[in-house]
């Protein structure tokens, strides 16, 4: 399995990268850790004419607090996210999600930006990025623009990013008080990809009722989505096992689940409900300050 030949560029700066992207447009692919792009190129599902390697660009791998948000550079690896002390304290949903990706070797190489830009329907981050209402920063020679997570995923392997644009940063909010978040995943046992992955973020009001609920689901449909019907069923209610289970039944509402040799559409729909319930239970327990 050898990729088709391509012209290789290793720009030294982000500016040089953006100029190359502007020049080559959709004939170019950006290579970061290579764990989404190279498998596709080896299978010849992708055969870009130009490969622009940004893997060693300086200053694009970081996790830091910025204007009340946490800013994460696109080249930050899954392993860095998994072990980041700042994220574990301020936004533990992301480390919990990163820890579920692939295996040690994949997490050592794969990057947050690469994974999101690839938008695999079975990728893990999209669920959490949606549940966190994250912002995605896209850079081009024209400047930068901010895309909210809800608008970012367009379809299978398709995002809002335009040719000539690069995903440069992701911004997530720190965990608010009385908030719990959790990511629960059913792995495809061979590849480790998500058959279903559910990220839930719940905030309790002072009286113990659910003030706000955000649920992102990956693996089920052609793109990750917010489970609006689940969220609606939770808002303003006092959490109970029955409430969570009933709400979780709406997990795949309005979605036509994918069907493949690993999981039929019916199975995915059923598992979406099961894993949504588990994620809600864990998120609630954490919001209540219990260990979960």
């Amino acid at each position: 399995m050898i990729p088709a030949a391509f012209e290789y560029h290793v720009p030294k700066t982000l500016e040089e990268t953006l100029r190359l992207l502007e020049r080559h447009g959709d004939e170019a692919k950006v290579l970061a850790g290579g764990h989404s792009l190279l498998p596709l190129m080896k299978l010849r599902l992708a055969a870009p004419r130009y490969v622009i390697d940004i893997g060693r660009l300086r200053g694009m791998s970081y996790i830091r607090e910025e204007n009340g948000q946490i800013a994460i550079g696109a080249l930050t690896t899954h392993a860095d996210l998994e072990s980041s002390a700042l994220l574990l304290m301020r936004c533990p949903l992301l480390p919990e999600t990163a820890a579920e990706i692939g295996d040690v070797q994949v997490r050592n190489r794969g990057t947050l930006g690469g994974s999101l830009a690839h938008a695999d329907p079975a990728g893990d981050y999209p669920a959490s990025i949606l549940a966190l209402d994250a912002e995605i920063i896209a850079a081009s020679t024209a400047g930068t623009r901010t895309i909210c997570a809800r608008d970012f995923f367009v379809d299978m392997l398709t995002t809002q990013l335009r040719p000539g644009e690069i995903l440069s940063q992701v911004r997530v909010p720190p965990l608010a008080p009385r908030t719990g978040a959790a990511y629960c995943k059913l792995h495809q046992p061979a590849s480790g990809f998500a058959i279903v992955g559910v990220a839930a973020r719940l905030t309790l009001g002072k009286g113990g009722k659910i003030d706000s609920a955000a649920v992102g689901i990956t693996g089920v449909g052609p793109k990750a989505y917010r489970a609006a019907a689940v969220e609606k069923a939770l808002r303003g209610k006092k959490p109970s096992p029955k409430l969570l289970a009933d709400a979780a039944r709406h997990a795949a509402q309005g979605v036509e689940p994918l069907s493949d040799l690993h999981a039929s559409a019916e199975y995915r729909r059923e598992m979406a409900a099961v894993f949504t319930r588990r994620a809600l239970e864990r998120a609630i327990a954490r919001a209540q300050g219990k260990k979960a």
């Binding site: 050898i2 088709a4 764990h35 498998p39 080896k42 040690v104």
Partner: protein, 166 residues
């Protein structure tokens, strides 16, 4: 068009001209002749091709040789020399010794990858629990179903390496 790369492999610097599409595993095996790194699934799943790239375990079938330009690679051939106290005089790395002592292999195909992933594990976590070892080795498949002995091999190495530090 070929690209100039410089890669330090097992302590020795190599200057090569390679096609950009050349995979690191083919560079190691076919250009440098280091066939200890095995090719298994070629789809980043089985872990047979695992090497250390700047100290981190990576699947060399999913890395381009050009991505290793300026980096340091350790393959199974170079591991023993990097073990503390071994120098160039041979002997085994403690993880290799563990696989030998605990019968951590049957056919041996997955072994180089298993060993290199275990080396990173023990560097990050010198005293891993069984669950931690299993999680660390989740990306390395053994088709002889020899996992139990592999776990014991890693525990042996952990003990031996912690003794060496005391």
């Amino acid at each position: 068009m070929a690209v100039e790369i410089q890669v330090r492999v097992n302590g020795k610097t190599h200057d090569s001209r390679v096609e950009p599409r050349l995979l690191l595993v083919h560079y190691l095996r076919d250009v440098l002749g280091l066939t200890g790194t095995h090719i298994g699934c070629e789809t980043s799943l089985c872990g047979a091709c695992t090497v250390l790239l700047d100290g981190k375990a990576v699947k060399s079938c999913t890395v381009l040789a050009v991505q290793a330009d300026g980096s340091e690679v350790t393959t199974i051939e170079g591991l023993a020399a990097q073990a503390p106290g071994n120098g160039a005089k041979g002997g085994l790395h403690p993880v290799q010794e563990g696989f030998w002592e605990k019968h951590g292999l049957q056919c041996g195909y997955c072994t180089p990858g298993m060993i290199l992933t275990s080396v990173q594990l023990l560097e990050d976590n010198p005293d891993p629990s069984e669950a931690e070892i299993r999680r660390a080795l989740a990306g390395n498949l053994c088709r002889c179903t020899g996992y139990q002995h592999i776990i014991e091999a890693v525990r042996y190495a952990a003990k031996k390496m912690s003794k060496g530090k005391r």
